[in-house]
Structures are given as structure tokens and as C-alpha cells.
Amino acid sequence: MRSSSYAPTAPARRSLRALLVLALTAATAAALPSAQAATPTPTTAAATSAASTSALAAKPYMGWSSWSMQSSKYPGLNPDGDYSYLTEKNVLKQADALAAKLKPFGYEYVNLDAGWWMDQAWKPGFDAYGRQKADPGRFPRGMKPVADHIHGKGLKAGIYLPVGLQKEAYGEGKVPIWNAGDCTTADVVYGDLRTTNGWDSAYKLDFSDPCAQKYVDSQARLFADWGYDFLKLDGVGPGSGKNGDQYDNVADVAAWNKAIAATGRPIHLEVSWSLDIGRIADWKKYSNGWRIDTDVECYCNTLVSWENSVDDRWDDLPGWTRHAGPGGWNDLDSLDVGNGDMDGLTKAERQSYATLWAIAKSPLYTGDDLTKLDSYGVSLLTNREVIALNQGSMPPARPITPSDPQQVWAAKNADGSYTVALFNLADRPAAVSADWAALGFTGKAAVRDLWNRENLGTYKDKVTQALPAHGSRLFTVTPRGTALTTTGYEAEAAANTLGGNASVADCPACSGGKKVGNLYVGGSLRFNDVVVAKAGTYQVKVAYVSGDPRSVEVSANGNGPTSHKFPSTGDWGTAETVSVPVSLKAGANTITFDSGSGYAPDIDRIDVPKSS
């Protein structure tokens, strides 16, 4: 949930997102060792989550969430006002449908989103201890029977809270805290009643007073007693469009982690939304998953739309990729691909959406009306091979090409095969190729088409397919060739030519411990003596560092440059690689990386295949 009666209006979202990007740029997270492999290897970095010791979030969770339908203006969904879809009747109807149709495929969570304590006028209700209380209009039997019904179907139940003490619960500071001696609401918040969370809808908890932890404990106790298995803590900062001390809710998340542990009930803790990647260590430590981006919902006449904001993920995700693992996952938000017209997407867009969520190892929870899934939607949500990618041991995929309109993502599977996704994010059909050289091998490979569930045969050097606008293909590629041999060239080598303000800088994560940076507004790096035996198009693997997505113009031998957008590496201390096609002639060549009029990534090195 993001929007509510006190949510920022839609146009503000973009500027919030822009702020977030700036924050990312400035962030200086601790340098993490980075693999120089062409693709992520199956040995995912061990998550540091406290929860990882338990079975919670061992795999990305699967299920259903109420928010997409609550937030939509699709005719008939919310007849009693905005967000009115959330009722016991509707939740149980969806739980029954989930159990009947999707449970066999691994979907198990039924998650209530914002508003279970709000009446249809969005007025909140609280118990005598300042805790959210079930709205009798929506949930006349209270929250426990809902969880019981869900459990009765063999499913798990999820509930929701905004972070902080909601303003309406404050009660002039006199409301007692449950099971906390003399603590009252005045003791749990700051004396100046500073607000917090993404909507400023709560007073910020002051954990220097033990009463604050007691308040969180009391809420956790309630959920445990009701039998909930999952909590989405929303509006968490830094993130949710906010930053600064007032909106730093890391202590809240830590308190929730502690409170949940104290209940003795395993409760999955998911934090939301657009979390600050600079605090990833905290999110990993205290939670089981984090929303990396804004809401996928469009708050329009459909559940979502491609531009607002499904398509943002392709650019926003890569910086986060390496942080996903057992115990904590990158949450891309609801997967609304099951309802056809109501989703607001083309068939191709629905497939691309499902593809990215699956290979990113995002939680797979749909926000669709499960009673009205169309056959194509069912095929997308129940493809066992695709679900296996998401739920199995494969590491999350990341781009192996630049983030251009036609792009390729891949991950290396434990058995030596590769999961390869082709995407065409352009508004018109285009051919997209995955070059084996970009995966690190040469020769032939067998290709299996996962969505179509068929083997396509053996392909030499690459596979090329025609993709519709916003379309995708998802393959398992099994190499039958040999490892690629390459020649490496370090960016910092003295033989290179630097232009503009470009300069060599230290980079512990980089090959040779150095990189070339300051590639901005006319900055350039030219490799002067790149030798290949034969003329052809080579997949040049570029190792680079870029805390945000940045474009660079790549050219060979002074010919026309091609602009490529390199995906974010998440911070300025991590190197990643992408492969860029470069047309080379036999003999010596130059390859130039030029910032043009913008800001380009820092370049660590290039590896040029010995054959094209």
C-alpha cells in the first residue's frame, strides 16, 4: 500500500523517485567483494538475516495480496469507496480460490493490505492499548477467524501495518501500552511528536524509552495470537519517498524483528516501499524482504499499467540483485498477470512481467481476482518450470547486456546450464539475441523454451527471436561448446588514452585494484591496441562500477558511437559486467568509452573474445 487518504498524489511520485536516485548516487555503502564472472554464480552470498536461521523466506514467498484490487478504479471492484474491496468476504473468497487453483503450484500466503482497521470512510479504529482494531464493517468477526479460515485451507495469513504510532492512536499520550506497566503512548514517541513514515501518518517511535519496544511487542503479540504468519510493515524509511533522521525507521524494523522473535511464532517480516539501497545491510539483518521500488499499481482503471510502473523494474532492480538470497529477497511488488483486461497489460507485457519477477527471485504474489483468472493468466501463474526457477537454487538473474531497449538477463544454474531471458522493452517488435559469448562460452547450445514448454533445438553462437513490443522469451540454455577465451585490457593501463576529466582511481573491488572514473561531460577512455585476428562483431565484456544506471557511448576505431545504458551496480564499490557488441577489424583496433554530454559509469576493464 502506498496511497491512502493522506498519500501523496500521483504526480509527486516521480519526484520522490528522483530524490531516491540522488540518494543512491550519494550513498557510500561498504565495498563488497564482487565476482568477475559473466553471470551470477549459483553460490549466492549468504544472507545475514537474523531470520535466515529459521525456515522463513528460505525461498521467495508466493501468494496473493489484497492491495491491487483495493487500489484500482476498475469498475465494480470498490463499490463502497476507495480501498473498500478489503472485507472478510472478499479475502476469504480469494483465499478459497487460491487454495483451489494456485496452492498446488506453491502459492500459500493470503495477505491483507492496508485498511483492515479502517472503516469505509478510511477512519481508523484502535483498541484500548492504541493497537489497530479490526473494522467491524469489513471484518465483523475480527481478524482471528480470517486467519483461521485461511489456515483451514492449508494456507498462511498475512497482515499489514504502517510503521510508527498512528496519530489517531495517540490519545493525548494517555493511552496505556498493553502489558507494559505504566507506559503510555506519550512514552513511546518523541516529545516533539515528530512524524514519520511515507505519509507522515504516524508519530515516530523513540526507542530510547523501553516503552516503545513494548508497544511494538504488544502489536506483535496480537498478530501472533490471531495466528498471522506474515507482516508487511509499510511506509518504512529511509525509502517510501522519504529520507533523513525523522524517516529513518531502521530501529522500528529492528524492534519488529525482536518483537516477532519474542512471540515465538514465525512471522515473515516484509518492509515496504522503495527502500533505500544504502541501508540494505539493515534490511537484510532485520527483515525477510524489501520492496525495492514504488507500487506496481497504477491507481487507475486497471490494476497496473506497463508505464506506471511495471517497466521501471528493469532499470531499478539490477543494483539490488546480488542482495537477494535465502532469508531476504528483493520484492518487486504484486504480480498482476492473471486477469487479462483488468490487469491493464497486453499478453506480451504479462509474460515479461512474470518473467522478470521469476528470474529476479522476487516474491510471487498476485494481486489479481483469483476467481476470474483467464486461461493465459493461469498458464503464466502455474508454469512449473518457471516457478522452479524462482523457488529453486538458481541465483537471481541480472543483465548480461546493457539496459538497452533490447536486453538479455541471465543466471548460471547449478547444473552448468543458464537461465536466459530476452526482453524487448521497445514499443514495437524487435529481434533480440542472446550471444553465447556474453554467457562465457562459444559453440553450440541446446535451448529450451520455458513458457512454451518445448525444446527449440541447438543453436550456434547465439539465439535470436522476434519479440513483440514489451515482450520476452525465457530459455534454459545448455552449453555444448567450450569456454570462451578472451584477452583482458585494464582501463588503468598506461597505454590507454584518457580524455576530458577522466582519471584513474583506486577501486578495491576492481580487477587490478583500479578503474577509470570521472567519465562525465566529455570524459573518455580509449583502449588503443585491441587486437583481434578476424574482422567481426565481438561481444566485449565490460567490467564497470556505477551506483546508478548510466549511459556511455561505445565506439571502435573512431566510427559512429552506440549509446548503451549500463545497469546500476548498486553502489560505487561494486563491479559488475555487461557484454557490448563491438564491430572490430582484423588487427589492431581502438575501443572508446565516451561520456558524451552526460555521466558515464566508471570502467574497470574489458575482456575481448579471441573469436567473434
Binding site: 506480451a348 514495437r428 517488435p429 518445448e454 522476434a466 513490443a469
Partner: protein
């Protein structure tokens, strides 16, 4: 016409001559969409196979919303379509060249100029929309997708694999069967299940498999579809055709209007029911297997296509491995010549001309192809470069037959143009009216429609430019019948100028000269300039050509003498002492935009031929023209680059001429100038919005030919502007030469090795290469082979 032209000793060529002759006969005022005789079917049954040289290919289909950049064109000269080739949903946007709104448009606006809207002037619009939905063949579910455009055969091919079965489809527009045919086949036990839908685009009601309606202007139109297959069922259900479990499927669609190229009947054939005729046509075609329709079409198309063959050199294996769009991008990125791509671009232009200009109206701003009903500038005929450029290629590139559509158009419009000129040109509100108070002959505005009407502003010199094009076709073909047909247009245009020219005394002298009255040099600078170079040059050429025409036809000798007297007194431009450029406005000052797209003051260099880089032209004039061309720059819209290239070819600057061709081959991105994925030329109207304008697709090939052969009556010049990129070795056959010859040419290391010259009516000509020259005299039909060329 082509009757005097010797046929190569091939049966196909004979067939083509028969077809071409048939076209000429059929056009005497008959409607463009009309009952046709039973097609002549080829008896040859050997498998059809094309050559990769003349085949374009792509690895992705078109998007329904990007048809103008990605759709592949077919056309039978009148009936055209853009095809998406999407496996799951084939979409054809179908056009008929005569499908126009608007009318005579004879009520002037308050400024004495013509209205220019879609209701009054009118617009070229879509005829129909055909979709073939095959739900199981969603693009996301198929692999190995590929589509091709076989330029030599005139066939679009699509192939892909779905669950192990290879599916193939062909789309072509047959002139003999006057229908568009879609043929779906498979190998491997596959089946086709889906629907065929024919829709209008003007809110018509489709009853079953056809529709008919009329525009407010009274133009009736209609279209019909028929489908048949084997192994399954095909049945009409409501407004759909459902097919199920078919091993193969054929869909035939036709349609048209009751437009008649005849001013006397107000451009209508009231007896024609287009819907009924369309139904008759699809029924007749559907009586034949698709393979028969294909063979009939290919024989017809190839006969024209093979009239010119071209090699500009060999491309690399790497270049050949790329699809057409990748190749276009690589050509621009790497700046390495791709001679086979460049030759294919020329052949694509020829393909468009064969497809878009036979037996109906001429090619308009968009040729014959549309993606909607609101084309920029109405998809009309622009008379200040665009329609002329469309036809510069026809004779040069071995497609003289395609030129006839322009002649037929001008003749059919002529009575109406003359009447409007008489009634409206001297309207006192018209700033371009004749200050002499006299009016005679005919004139047009910058835009013309198909209803005898004009749009936008009056364009006095437009008549002279149209006449120049018509005349040049005579020079290429020496066709007496053509000359006889166009003579009235030339004479009437002379009468217009006789009435319009005014006398002025050159400053500082007592010399009196004749100049154009208040006018606008297209499309910049002052709008009331007298004696603009553009008009002076065009009128000079008009008078010159008219005098020749009268002499050759032995007609009107007295009037020709009068015109000769006027020609002698016409002012011709000089070089500005201030700018060093050939003047555009009878002024030493630059009154317009230095890099303006139009080259109006250079019209005497190309397409005119008065300014020549040889002894016949004062060197300062050549220098001034060169300086102006240089100042205009090398970066402009596609057609403007093509015109520049032609001018540089005339000046024998091969590398500049070539660079401008390369510029047009650049990929269009975000609506920028350049070539779209389907090679249509994109014109950047404003930042981020590009539209299709076909003239560069013809003007660029014209420039390529002009670089290989310069001709004027009595003189040919081999390889006048051969760029390094094509110099190593190459050949071209079937190039038309003014003076009435057709030339085959081979070269190696930049030098001609052999020239084969056939007369199609020409008799004596010099043949030059560099500074050497020889004289050839041939009887019509005879030929000679020349070798041993040295500079």
C-alpha cells in the same frame, strides 16, 4: 511507349511488353478499377526461387501501431497494402490510389488561395483493413521468425516454427488478377485455425465478406474478401470468415472505387459498383489455386523488375549475415560501404515503383501506402519537387512503363486545371495573379488532388516543372505517341507564360528582359519576388522543349516562333557578387535560409540541364552553382539529400553524391531523418515526429543511376561520378538514356570495361568517358558494344 524498344530474347521480356502494351491500351479514359480480361497464365512450373541479392529480410514483424516504419509494402500499381506479418495476427492496411476525399475545391479563401483541408481539398485515405487472426501463433510462442521481401518476385514471405511445425506465408498483390493474395502453408502436420476479418476504415458496415459505401464527394468504393483452404473448414460467420483445422489457407482481397480519370464525367464512373466488382474479382481469383495466382503474379512482376540489373560490388560475409535493419545500422555505425545493401536500396525503389505506379494514379507523397486516414499534407501531389522526384527514377532505372501514370494523371486533370486557372488565377486577392491582367493556359497550386483541384497556394511555375518531367520521358523513350499526348499540355503552359511574363529593364542597362511576375521561390524567402531563378529556368526549359516538340510534330510553327522570341528575351540568373552564389531572387542578397531544403535556384543543374560543367556553360555560372550547392550543405531531409546528390553527380563530384546517398541510408531513430526498418524514407516533421515521404525512396536511386550514366539527347557519359565505394567492379543493365537509348555498363577499377548501347529510337550520340569520346550511330532497335575506354 515502349513499343519500339527491342525485347531481350527471353519469353518473360516478351510477356512484359505485351502487358505494358495492354496497359497503354486500357487507359483511354477507362476507370482505374475495372473489369479486366482473363490473365495470361504462365505455363512454366519449375519451382520459383529468388536471389538473396534482391531479397530484404527482417527478424521481427511489424507492430500494428508502427506499420509505416515496419509494415512491408505490396501493390499492383493501384491496389496496395502494408503487411505486418505478425504470426498470430496478420494485418493488411489496404489502399487504392483513387481513395480520396475532397473535391474540385474551387472556392478560394480570402487571400485568393486554395483551401487545404481534408474535406474541401481532400486526402488520400485507406480503403480497408484486413486481419487474419491465428490465436495459437502468438509471436511470443513461435521461434525462428523471419520475413522477407523478394524484390525480384514481388512477394513478402514469412516463416516461423510453432511446436516443431514450420509455417510459411506469402503475401503479394497481383496485377493480372487485380487482387491481394495471402497464402498460408505449413510443413510438419500443422493446422491453421482462426478468423479473417475485412473492415472499412470509414465506419462502414461490413455485410459478410464485402462492403460498399460512398464518400460525401460521391466517390463510391468497396472491397471484398474470399478465403479457401484444404483439409479443414472455411465458413462465413457474420462479418467474419472462420477457418478451422486447415492444412493451408488462401485469402484473396480486392477492392477499389468508381473513380474515372476523366474531367468530363467529373471523375466518376456512375455505372460502376465497386463492391460488386470486388466480389467478382475475388471470386474469379479464388477459382485458382494459390500457386497459380503466385506464378501469374511473379511472371508479371519479374518482367518489369528484370528490366534493370545492378551490381555495385561485393559485400562482406559479416554484412550479409545481418538482417536489413541491422545492416542499415551497421552501415551507419561503421561507415564501411555495403555495396549489396546500396544496390538493394535502389532495387527497393524500383520495387515500390512497380508496385505503386501502374495503370492508375501516380505515386503521391506516400506512394501508395498509408497507416491511417490523416497523412501529412494529405498524401497529395506536391508540384514543387515531390511528384517530379517520384518519377526521376522511372526511365533511368528501366521502368519507363511506370511513368505513364504521371502522364495519364496530368492529361486527365488538364481540362479542370485549365478551367480553374481561367476562372480563378487572376482573382484580385491572389498575390501571384498576372499583373498584365491577362490569363491563358493552365496552372496549378503547390498541391493537387485527383478531382481536378488544387490546394494551398498558387504555384505558377508548377506547370512548367510538370511539363519538364513529361518532356524528359519523351527524351528517354522517343515515343511519338507520348509526345503527341503531352503536346497540348506543353502548348497550354506556354500560353500561360506568354500571358504572365512581364518586361523589366535590367538595372544599370537599357536591356529589357522578360521575367516571372510576383512569385515565391519554394518554399522560403520573399513571397512577392519577380524573376525568381526557379521560374526563369523552368520557363526557359518549357519554351525550349515546346519548340522542339512543335518541330518534331510539325505543328504550330508560327506559335513556336513566338515562343522562341519570348525565350530569347527571358532573363537567366547570374552569380551574386556578394555571395558568390547563383542568385535565387534576382538579388545579390541571400533573402532566404542558407541551408534550405529546396534547391530551386539550381533547377537548371538538375533536373534541368542548362548548367553543365563543360564548355557549354560559362565557368562562373558553374562556379556559382557549385558554391550555392555547397552552402546548402549535406544534411537535410531525404528528398533534399537526394536532390543534392543528383546535383553533385551532375557536377561529377562522386564522393559528395555518394555521401548524400549514405546519409539517406542512415537509420531513422525517434522520427529522425533516414530510413525506417522497412526502408521507407522518414521525414522529420518536428523533433520526435517523423513521417513517411516516399520521394527519397525514388530520388536516391535516381541519383545512384545518375552517378553511373549521364545522358542528354546526343550525348552519353559513362561513370561520370563513380564513388570509390563502388569503383572496384560493378555492372548495370537496362539504364535509360535521354536521346532514346538503353545502356548496359560494366566497370572495373573505376573504369568502364564494356558498354552495350541499344537504340529505342535514338540515332546518333557521342559516348564519352572522361575526356575521350566516340560517336555512335544506330537505327532504332539496333545495338553496339563498346570497349577499350581510356580517360
Amino acid at each position: 511507349m515502349d513499343k519500339s524498344r527491342p525485347a531481350a530474347p527471353s519469353r518473360r521480356r516478351l510477356l512484359s511488353l505485351a502487358a505494358a502494351t495492354g496497359v497503354a491500351t486500357a487507359l483511354g479514359g477507362l476507370p482505374a478499377f475495372t473489369a479486366t480480361a482473363a490473365p495470361q497464365r504462365p505455363t512454366d512450373s519449375t519451382p520459383l526461387k529468388g536471389s538473396s541479392r534482391n531479397r530484404l529480410w527482417w527478424q521481427a514483424p511489424a507492430d500494428e501501431h508502427s506499420m509505416i516504419e515496419q509494415g512491408l509494402p505490396v501493390g499492383n500499381g493501384r491496389l496496395g497494402a502494408l503487411a505486418s506479418n505478425d504470426p498470430g495476427r496478420e494485418l493488411l492496411l489496404i489502399t487504392d490510389a483513387t481513395m480520396w476525399t475532397g473535391g474540385l475545391n474551387d472556392t478560394l479563401d480570402s487571400d485568393g488561395q486554395f483551401p487545404y483541408g481534408r474535406d474541401d481539398f481532400g486526402s488520400f485515405t485507406l480503403l480497408a483493413r484486413l486481419t487474419v487472426d491465428i490465436p495459437d501463433h502468438d509471436l511470443s510462442a513461435v521461434s525462428g521468425y523471419r520475413r522477407t521481401l523478394d524484390l525480384a518476385q514481388g512477394v513478402i514471405g514469412t516463416s516461423y516454427v510453432r511446436s516443431g511445425v514450420t509455417y510459411e506465408r506469402q503475401v503479394f498483390a497481383s496485377r493480372p488478377d487485380d487482387a491481394i493474395v495471402l497464402h498460408f502453408t505449413q510443413s510438419g502436420g500443422g493446422r491453421y485455425t482462426g478468423t479473417v476479418t475485412l473492415d472499412g476504415t470509414h465506419e462502414e458496415t461490413v455485410q459478410g465478406t464485402s462492403f460498399g459505401a460512398a464518400f460525401p464527394n460521391g466517390l463510391r468504393y468497396g472491397a471484398a474478401v474470399k478465403a479457401y483452404g484444404t483439409g479443414g473448414s472455411v465458413r462465413v460467420k457474420g462479418a467474419l470468415i472462420e477457418f478451422s483445422g486447415c492444412k493451408d489457407l488462401t485469402v484473396v482481397v480486392s477492392g477499389g472505387t468508381n473513380y474515372a480519370p476523366d474531367a468530363a464525367s467529373h471523375y466518376r464512373d456512375p455505372s460502376l459498383d465497386p463492391e460488386k466488382l470486388a466480389r467478382t474479382k475475388v471470386a474469379a481469383a479464388a477459382a485458382h489455386p494459390a500457386d497459380t495466382l503466385l506464378r501469374t503474379h511473379v511472371a508479371d512482376h519479374k518482367a518489369l523488375f528484370e528490366q534493370l540489373d545492378l551490381s555495385l560490388g561485393t559485400s562482406s560475409a559479416e554484412q550479409r549475415s545481418l538482417d536489413t535493419w541491422e545492416r542499415i545500422r551497421a552501415r551507419a555505425r561503421d561507415d564501411v560501404p555495403d555495396p549489396e545493401l546500396e544496390a538493394a536500396y535502389l532495387q527497393f525503389g524500383r520495387y515500390l515503383m512497380i508496385s505503386g505506379s501502374r495503370g492508375s494514379l501516380p505515386l503521391n507523397l506516400q506512394g501508395l501506402w498509408l497507416d491511417g486516414n490523416d497523412p501529412d499534407w494529405m498524401g497529395d501531389y506536391h508540384t514543387d519537387i515531390n511528384i517530379q522526384m517520384n518519377y526521376w527514377m522511372a526511365d533511368r532505372a528501366g521502368l519507363s512503363q511506370s511513368f505513364d501514370a504521371l502522364t495519364d494523371y496530368c492529361l486527365a486533370q488538364f481540362p479542370s486545371w485549365r478551367k480553374l486557372t481561367h476562372d480563378l488565377f487572376n482573382d484580385p486577392r491572389n498575390r501571384y495573379r498576372n499583373s498584365t491582367g491577362k490569363v491563358a493556359g493552365w496552372a496549378v497550386a503547390f498541391s493537387t488532388n485527383i478531382h481536378g483541384g488544387s490546394g494551398w497556394w498558387w504555384h505558377p511555375a508548377g506547370n512548367a516543372w510538370l511539363c519538364a518531367s513529361l518532356w524528359e520521358h519523351y527524351e528517354f523513350t522517343r515515343s511519338r505517341s507520348h509526345l503527341t499526348r503531352i503536346y497540348p499540355l506543353l502548348k497550354s503552359a506556354c500560353e500561360f507564360w506568354e500571358a504572365r511574363l512581364i518586361t523589366t529593364t535590367l538595372p544599370g542597362t537599357s536591356k529589357e528582359v522578360l521575367v516571372d511576375d510576383s512569385d515565391w521561390s519554394p518554399e522560403h524567402g520573399p513571397q512577392d519576388a519577380k524573376g525568381i531563378t526557379y521560374a526563369q529556368e523552368l520557363v526557359w526549359a518549357l519554351f525550349d522543349n515546346y519548340r522542339t516538340a512543335a518541330r518534331e510534330l510539325k505543328k504550330d510553327s508560327a506559335y513556336a516562333k513566338t515562343i522562341g522570341g519570348l525565350q530569347d528575351r527571358l532573363y537567366l540568373p547570374k552569380v551574386s557578387e556578394r555571395t558568390g552564389w547563383l542568385e535565387e531572387w534576382m538579388s545579390p542578397d541571400n533573402l532566404g535560409e542558407t541551408t534550405h531544403r529546396h534547391l530551386s535556384p539550381l533547377i537548371g543543374l538538375f533536373p534541368g540541364d542548362r548548367i553543365r560543367p563543360d564548355e557549354s556553360t560559362p565557368p562562373e555560372i558553374v562556379k556559382g552553382a557549385t558554391a550555392l550547392l555547397t552552402a546548402r550543405g549535406m544534411e537535410s531531409f531525404g528528398w533534399a539529400n537526394a536532390w543534392r546528390s543528383l546535383c553533385w553527380a551532375r557536377l561529377k563530384n562522386a564522393e559528395n553524391a555518394y555521401q548524400l546517398i549514405v546519409n539517406n541510408l542512415r537509420p531513422s531513430t525517434d522520427g529522425g531523418n533516414g530510413s525506417a526498418p522497412n526502408l521507407f524514407d522518414i521525414y522529420e516533421v518536428e523533433k520526435g515526429r517523423g513521417i513517411f515521404q516516399i520521394d527519397a525512396n525514388f530520388g536516391t536511386p535516381a541519383a545512384m543511376i545518375e552517378m553511373l550514366l549521364y545522358s542528354r539527347p546526343g550525348h552519353l557519359e559513362l561513370l561520370p561520378a563513380l564513388p570509390d565505394a563502388w569503383a572496384k567492379s560493378g555492372s548495370v543493365t537496362g539504364v535509360g538514356a535521354r536521346g532514346g537509348f538503353v545502356v548496359d555498363l560494366r566497370w572495373r577499377d573505376g573504369r568502364p570495361t564494356e558498354a552495350y548501347i541499344r537504340s529505342v529510337g535514338g540515332r546518333t550520340t557521342t559516348v564519352a568517358y572522361g575526356r575521350s569520346s566516340r560517336t555512335v550511330t544506330l537505327k532504332p532497335g539496333a545495338s553496339v558494344t563498346l570497349r577499350d575506354f581510356t580517360r
